[in-house]
Point group: D3
Chain length 315, copies 6
């Protein structure tokens, strides 16, 4: 029974399809060319070396190519490595497709669409609702497929929508407990806050930063987008400015990328809900991998802390 590369243990053999995520050429100290491949399926990734690589190999085994590999799982410097015994590019007749090799959100597209629609229906302020609706229409495909980040949290297909929908649920409950909160504004802030990532990041499969991602970043990109959209929809009024402020301030501090800190109640709350959902996503996924009585690996985006799972937790 196939379990995927993320669950393979040292000493096991492996015989299945994998996607090449990265391929880098190298030369051994005695002058022979080889390829370092990062291979992945939906469960995880592993490094492999292709020794004595020919020029043909270099042209064949490139990023986004699916391959059929047999090999053994070894360990090198504390990390698993796949020792390749045989390898060939996948063919059309193999019936495998790129999307099978990508980690996905634990909920499906229909669920995400439904939850987004639900949130928009709850809105009462027509201006805010119109702007949000227009963005969902404009970015529908990317919104439902992109990851929320290239690493750290929700870094999987549909991660962005998963993050948004999860934040919306937190927002709904907090709005009940703190009834002064303007729910329309908060919902809109949640849906729009990271949409700039659709232009900041290169795509779903091999997620890197685009040029405008590097030179501007998703926050200024999205502030500009809201201004353009308001002009297109011929909307005026403070709602536009406040929505731009929510997006601009959602990282909370200048050092963290928000040149203006939150100065509106819902902006502060948006920042806190973003923190909670990102942290719970990282924590839950890391703790799922350890048994009670153990610590997780150090989590870089949580100040490099390793977290403990108490013995009295269920396994």
């Amino acid at each position: 029974m196939k379990r995927g590369i993320g669950y393979s243990a040292v000493g096991e053999t492996f015989d299945d399809f994998l996607l090449i995520k990265e391929a880098t050429k190298g030369t051994t100290s005695n002058g022979k060319p080889f390829l370092t491949l990062i291979l992945r399926d939906a469960t995880g990734e592993i490094e492999a070396k292709l020794w004595d690589a020919t020029t043909d190999d270099e042209a064949l085994f490139i990023a986004e190519q699916i391959i059929r590999v047999t090999g053994e799982i070894n360990q090198f410097r504390g990390k698993n490595q796949l020792k390749i015994l045989s390898v060939r590019p996948a063919q059309e007749t193999d019936g495998v497709k790129l999307s099978d090799f990508v980690e996905k959100a634990p909920v499906d597209r229909e669920y995400l669409t439904e939850k987004l629609t639900e949130a928009i229906f709850e809105m009462k302020n027509p201006v805010i609702q119109r702007i949000v609706r227009a963005f969902i229409k404009k970015y529908q495909e990317g919104l439902l497929t992109y990851p929320a980040a290239s690493k750290n949290h929700h870094e999987y297909a549909s991660g962005l929508a998963h993050h948004i929908v999860s934040m919306l649920q937190v927002a709904r409950e907090l709005s009940k407990l703190y009834p002064q909160v303007n729910k329309d504004l908060l919902y809109a802030g949640i849906i729009l806050h990271d949409l700039g990532k659709l232009r900041e990041l290169s795509g779903v499969v091999t997620t890197t930063y685009t040029l405008e991602g590097k030179l501007l970043g998703h926050i200024p990109i999205m502030v500009e987008e809201i201004g353009l959209m308001a002009r297109e929809l011929q909307i005026e009024g403070e709602e536009v400015l406040i929505l731009q402020h929510l997006v601009l301030s959602h990282h909370g501090k200048a050092e963290w990328g928000s040149p203006t800190p939150p100065l509106v109640r819902e902006a502060e709350l948006l920042h806190l809900i973003d923190l909670i959902d990102a942290k719970m996503n990282m924590l839950n996924r890391a703790l799922d991998k350890v048994i009670p009585g153990e610590f997780t690996d150090r989590l870089f985006a949580m100040d490099n802390r390793a977290f403990y799972k108490p013995l009295f937790e269920e396994k």
Copy 2:
């Protein structure tokens, strides 16, 4: 109709009972003694000068004394001041009592007790439940009357219980959204996290720091209390250590008073819920005082920010 000192406007006359919160002796530059009084009722506080104070006055008009004052509301250096026209100490026959002059939580004692009891009933881990129950029994009176802090957030009578109950509600909803969370542990952390303030702060009416509050602080005090309680109840097991860790780490960072950062999922979540509830309390109370289109005063504990109330908010 009496509205309380917190709502008096410059130019108005005032004739009612007030509590002396602080009384300080001074001497004018031409050598005459006077008293500076901070006076308060349940709606707010105001400064007043008692000129030409006699030695009798100094003995009579001291902190925690209730007085009957008539006077006018003036302004001095941008702050309101009460110009005293006549003043006398309250007598038994006046029928006023100290607790009438203290700001109170917007919910009553019964409600708070009920909500705490409810949370304990929901707990399934018997060890955690026993410890929490024992603390609620030990500190029942203080827990229901103390403020959560001497200033900044929930700084009113029953503020501590109000903060706890509000956090418990947030915790209940987040536990549903993130089902991996150990609700018993999170509830217990919330109920216990600030109980050390019952020893750190001097009391309900004139809240100052005690000697052990200054030399140890509420966090180490409470870590020790949990250890003592476990010994008294003859409880062993990791629950005790984990509860101590939750209390110890709930300020999140060494610079903020937690020598160990959160290293357990519920410790991280406790820290975040504490942040949310404290911030929403400060924000809602500050925004309640301004009309749409205005900024609040600068809020010291929110990085000195002034918050804006959008025009499209209801007044």
Copy 3:
């Protein structure tokens, strides 16, 4: 001979027109109303108290009103104060106008216009030139009248244009010394970098922050403006992105308000030239006021340093 309020010494009498910059009501400790006025002309400003102010006075003596005052220059807590002996509002027949009471750049409008035009003529890249030209047309009036800031440097009428023109001169010379620099890009960055202040600041006379100035700030405002302008001019190409990057990064660091640091040569140079011109403006104006052998006042925006003028400098 009239020298202006900025040059009046303690003990002198004063008899001239002044502009009310700020007027605040107060009440003395014995209950009498008064007004605190900040008065100014083109040479500086001074505080004055108007005792026993009537309701009429309060309505009459408000911000932006010009008044005729006679009084004496006293000193109070180390600062000069004008003791008002008589005061009346200016009348039409007095022939004074608001713009006479405002500090101005040491160069005139024609000079500034000419220098800006010169810079645009030097540009060779048609795309960059078109965008800059369009902004100069759009904001011509504000660009030539606004201060560069509400305080610290170039905080006077036409200060923004003065700052830009001065930076352009530095840029021209540095471009000769470092010929790899793209002069078009650098010039464009200089002209556009602070244009967002026309929306961030309220105006020339009493310069405060607008709502969008507070909630967004001039940097995100201008990044959005460049995007909108490019769309209006139907311009595409990397120039637009790079210009947005220059504006976005010109404060140099996230902590200083640039969420992205300079990542293009001309962006780094723009930041440095901005620093030089702002600092030289502050330093030269502060050192002009002291004689050799003395220190200036502490300059807040120069890390609170007081600067020394060596004895061997000419007075």
Copy 4:
């Protein structure tokens, strides 16, 4: 003549007993298992590889096992490595014991006991004396055998007692020079300040952090212990609180693990004496290893500085 592994030079052969401190399994890139061993005796430690390790080897060569090794000292990436030629586990008849392979304090147990006793005899405050005596009794064994830390300073057997006794000597002299110092309090603070390490660290031989060490840390552990001990001894009075404060504040700052900074004279002095003794221990041991005219290695716990030994120092 045997000199120990810490003094072996590259190119020499080695034939003696060593203790396995750590053993980690690995697999070569061609799939063969090996063991990486960290071996030590009382003079130092060295890495070794055991190639082609069988399953038996993996069970045999584990942490805390003493082995007999012959091999050669090689160098790999700038660090010495032991090339194993033959190896076997030690047998009972070899007459070697674990404690022979551990670095020890340069003074013996009797000396340390005597000096501690001496300090207690000097105390005049009966309450302080009783508490200290009770702790020395409770933790006698650990106190005399534990290291003061897992690395950096006094990281050897009996290092904790060595650190305490050395600090007591400094304290005695400083108390003479600054006679206002309360010597009883300072002595007690010195003896108790790091006792929490007996629960924070796992033991003498392979020193790691325990679970309560990680989740609480030695400072909160010891604050709690003092509270418990006072209750057991039925002691009340400010001495208990002040001792807890000394322990709590001895790292000097929140960022360094003391949520409350020193607020009592002897607390401040305890912090400074702790600094001096830890730094002199690190400096002296590092400088002993270099000749005049050389720099030491970088010392991580001294801000990564390398220290210079002047030419005019005796070798």
Copy 5:
């Protein structure tokens, strides 16, 4: 019986000589001139106002003038103030001299000279000894009269020598406990480390910063002095460089004024001994003024902490 101004209590009358430390002119809001005087004797200082000051008064009552005052001790904004009833300048026949009004070290000049001589006699390295001897000769007068600082610690006449002698005693004892320490070097570092203050500070009575004090600071001044002295004495060898390093690094960190941190054992120890003696001086003097059970005022140079004197301390 005369006790000095530092011990006067509110309500007492005062009739004695005082030194004017500072005199500043002011004008009341109704235009009348007055003088604000800071008056002192050897026990402390107090503020006084001289109302209706004539031009003659302004010329007479200036800094460093001794006056005879009768008055009453009042309180103004929480600080004592002397209400002047009569005042006249001291005359020659009064037999008072400036040095009577200055706070002095608690030990006399002979003691300080003796202790310095003793330290030099203990030195064995002839080069180090010669340099130190030459500096003591060059700066004898200033060394024995200057304060160690203009405020914070040892800020009294002969404070510098008192600080040095106290540090020498600590150094002697620590050298015994840590015999690896080069005592000659440490002694020399202690004697020289702050000698640059003789050029940085203006003098004993009214201590301000000189121009070279502000533009260079005592550390670079003294590094240069050692270089010049070595050249004058025709001394070469590493001792000169190491002494310069000790002076340069004695503030411990770049942020604290040492561009190079300590990189020699005795440099590190010099920094620590400097810290201890400065802190003990501040702490002991502050704690002497409070009774057991009280906190001191906040000590600015001790991170603004207020220190507690335990109840079990002798008064």
Copy 6:
């Protein structure tokens, strides 16, 4: 055609002279000795391994030896490496000299001398001119040959003079634009500011830190030198102090090595011009190596940023 090692590509053969910059001995895991060589010519550097090195090889192939090598360019861990096929030390008859293998400033010695002379001729203050002239005479050789730093900017032969001359040109232009600047002072500051590096750094070819460089640093060294020079030239007056201040403060902040920040106009400007010239040197050299549309490597001394070369730049 020979292009130099800096331009060699992977796969090419190499046959030319190179200079050994560093030689380090190593031992392979199977016990065989080898040498790691860093080889360079005027265009760049490369690493090479000399396997099976004999004792003779170790004596022959040392730093500053020129060798004749044939080999192939390989790649190892992302960096180029030279695989040595044959190697021999250069002989006298080869006609190669060390200076051929060192990177040089892009302008020659005559040009640099002329520009320095020109600057001195422009000076009008005779005191400043005399000091600068004396230093140029004293350090003529080093000034014209040393690098400005051991890495980061102007780190090549004559880099110091190149940096100075480039800064002088910027200073000349800025002095015209800000005519209040004292050009003599600014020029002198520029010429002297880094002269201490002639004692801080070991030399032109293999640039390391000297002992006094490590223990004092170039800034305190140069402050002392100016004092000594003034004494030699029997110059007094504020110019000496101000020049020392310019050197002392030119790093701008205590954290960056200037214990006193700039407090004179020309000191501030010196700091800014130093920044500009260093940054433009780093940026221009890094951007010269990439084509439009690419990013440079991360530049460590520019906060680790990678810079982008826009597509519209000429290649």
